[in-house]
Symmetry: C2
């Protein structure tokens, strides 16, 4: 059985029909492709690049299996020269990219692929698929981190409504690098080393004789992880039962750590629950909330002074519900030594190999200039060299290091970009060298 997570057949058919053309006409010249987002979506003031490590691993491991080749051969669509090429296929190109976790803006390339044309073409679909979703979620998660402002731990709770299995994994990973404490998705721990968290569902309560017995049974079975869900029948009464159950469990040496609210007027209920817990001597018991949480509800709840210590953020983050996709593109910018562009209405591209220089005011981002490679400007260059002739230039980064870098990036955002609503755009200038190149190419196309 082919594995869609690793088979190069997870691609668009046109990549293969184009490759047939390239191979037939000996078009093996060096091509340069860049991946970027075309326009800043509504409700976004910055973007976070994510997924680079998964791209590098994909490129290292990308092979056509005998099964893949047999399928392609049996379609009758392709000639022997293409099938031979695919059998030998190894990615032999260079990768330049912004480090994972970098803040970026429209038209800035977060990855640049330099490789023989058929290679760079073949990998397009999966590279977009990997970078697009992970950047989408890292961006959304960073907004939640900003809204929480260190007042609460954030946990990814979204697996059940992510768009398939891989989205569940990537949501856990992308939210973790953007400041989440962890995820409820178990497999994210063995695969990525992400801390996992979990409590109980309503079914656990409903299946038992009564709520209090369910609380006690859960505590006895999970003595180091007692967070109790209290909204199954009536949240306020549920909190009262926690006080009784906690006293019972305390005698067995078991400490209740938190309660979870999942419905109703959370701002109001969290305050009432806080009072009940405090009056019952449970000042150290945290209040964890879930259900339709996102950066907007987190902000609103704190504006109402809700005494919340943790959020389970699920569906709305993991589907990036207010911005479920970026208008992103993977475009040819050079072939056989000559810069290239397309002029398609509303989708025109900038030619050449690009670099972005970012200026800082103390540690706060102050402005970017996008230019072509070799044209230096003030500031830090953002695009670095990661892979040379198909080989990584350094081992894979540790996820905690990527997380730390991402947190520094979020800290470097100027205050106006940290707003949740659309604000004035961050300045990204195009250099004279880049504009001159664009004009020159356009003239040759006339």
């Amino acid at each position: 059985m082919m594995n869609p997570l690793t088979s190069p057949l997870l691609t668009d058919l046109y990549q293969l029909t184009m490759l047939q053309g390239y191979i037939d006409h000996d078009m093996h010249g060096t091509s340069v492709f860049e991946f970027f987002v075309r326009i800043m979506p509504d409700n976004r003031n910055f973007l976070i690049a994510a997924g680079l490590e998964t791209v590098l691993t994909f490129l290292e491991e990308c092979r056509f299996s005998p099964e893949d080749l047999e399928f392609l051969s049996n379609t009758g669509r392709f000639s022997a020269n293409l099938l031979d090429y695919l059998e030998q296929f190894r990615f032999s190109g260079d990768i330049h990219a912004m480090p994972e976790g970098t803040v970026f803006f429209p038209n800035e390339p977060i990855i640049r692929i330099t490789a023989p044309l058929p290679e760079a073409q073949l990998i397009e679909s999966r590279i977009i698929n990997l970078l697009h979703y992970q950047s989408l979620i890292a961006t959304k998660a960073a907004r939640c981190t900003i809204a929480a402002a260190g007042r609460a731990g954030l946990i990814d709770f979204g697996l059940r409504r992510t768009h398939g299995a891989e989205a569940g994994l990537f949501a856990a990973r992308s939210s973790y690098i953007a400041g989440f404490a962890g995820t409820s998705t178990v497999i994210a721990e063995p695969l990525y080393g992400i801390p996992i968290f979990g409590t109980m569902a309503h079914s656990f309560i409903e299946a038992q004789a009564n709520e209090e017995e369910a609380f006690i049974n859960f505590g006895i079975s999970n003595p180091n992880n007692v967070t109790l869900l209290i909204d199954t029948y009536d949240t306020v009464r549920g909190a009262e039962k926690v006080v009784t159950a906690a006293a019972f469990l305390r005698e067995k040496g078991i400490t209740v750590r938190g309660v979870r609210l999942d419905s109703g007027n959370i701002a109001d209920l969290s305050k009432r629950v806080r009072t009940i817990l405090d009056d019952g001597g449970l000042r150290d018991v945290g209040i964890f909330v879930s259900g339709n949480m996102d950066e907007y509800t987190i902000r609103d709840l704190y504006e109402q002074a809700a005494p919340i210590t943790g959020f389970g953020v699920g569906t709305r983050m993991d589907t990036s519900a207010d911005v479920p996709y970026f208008d992103s593109a993977y475009k040819l910018t050079e072939y056989a030594g000559k810069p290239r562009l397309k002029k398609s209405e509303g989708k025109a591209t900038l030619p050449g190999r690009k670099q972005v220089y970012r200026r800082f005011d103390h540690n706060t981002m102050a402005g970017d200039i996008m230019t072509i490679e070799g044209d230096s400007h003030e500031g830090r260059p953002l695009v670095r060299h990661y892979m040379e002739r198909g080989e990584r230039l350094a081992p894979a980064l540790d996820l905690t290091d990527i997380r730390e870098f991402t947190m520094q990036q979020i800290d470097g955002l100027p205050p106006y970009l940290r707003k949740l609503e659309k604000t004035s755009p961050y300045p990204v200038e195009l250099s004279k060298a880049l504009l001159d190149m664009k004009e020159e190419i356009e003239e040759t196309l006339e």
Copy 2:
């Protein structure tokens, strides 16, 4: 390396902490869970159930590997009794469900799981993950099918911006059963037998000396599949070059089948292109369009009498951009012979094992009544028996049969539900037997 597509660790941690409680307290009684959508989203008048076959396969194959068990043991979170249970785990329950492709409405169960409580609990996260996204996309795709009304072929083009690899596959499958002709995603053919389609990208044009040469080179390399992308520099001039290239290719016995437009004012350009092609003797060359297509743009283009013969529908369908998630749930409705419910504000559930009867007026859906199993009503019962004690009652259905059934379901929608904007709701009545049961349970909870 664990495979997240098949490992039962693709689940929420709370399933395992709850299982520890169930096993410790010998709660192996028979439980009944149902999956349903809570409310009809804005911009939807009906929903299409999809993903049942993938759920049945998951349940047949669900096993903890030695690697999975070793990880769980090493976490130190779980007792030996739970690890022993998981090592032996096989799904031994019953599945009742609506056939894949069935039109359904809020609160109607599209699947019912009857199994010992720990089993039915453990599989919750992945079952939701499988059914939620596939139903989301089947619903969106059915709306595109309705908008096209047989005037054009629809192809799924969305892989690159789906949320990960599995979403790409499921989008191809769900859109195919809802009436699409096929997909651009290559691996969907060997895995599911879905027809694949593809043309060329702008990079193919840009990399060559000029557009006309690119058209000819492509035609020679793909003689049976010549659709030419004409908007790289100027769509109208591109169409003129197609006329020249087609004449050249015709002499070699190669027929141009279509052109593709991907940018600009599509309604206007498609008409101008049609005239150029017709005047050039290319009356049989179709016009295929892509770029931000969905049910709304398809409708709008036909309202403007655009002469379009095919649509590539991508990102907006494969992320279900206007409704990126359903408010769906998997809820306990019975345990140990006793119906169960939760009363959580805004998220209360209905108890018991449910059945839905659907009345028809000729072949058009006229109204549903939801009741409890054993209480018969007029109309066709929608929930059928698919798996008994862990074994399928019939072999997996052929995807083309599921597609045909789904198309019949779409044909059975009354005209008012076929509107793209929100309309008056379809009548779904709750039976007296169901309401009586609810009242009775609520009284016992007081």
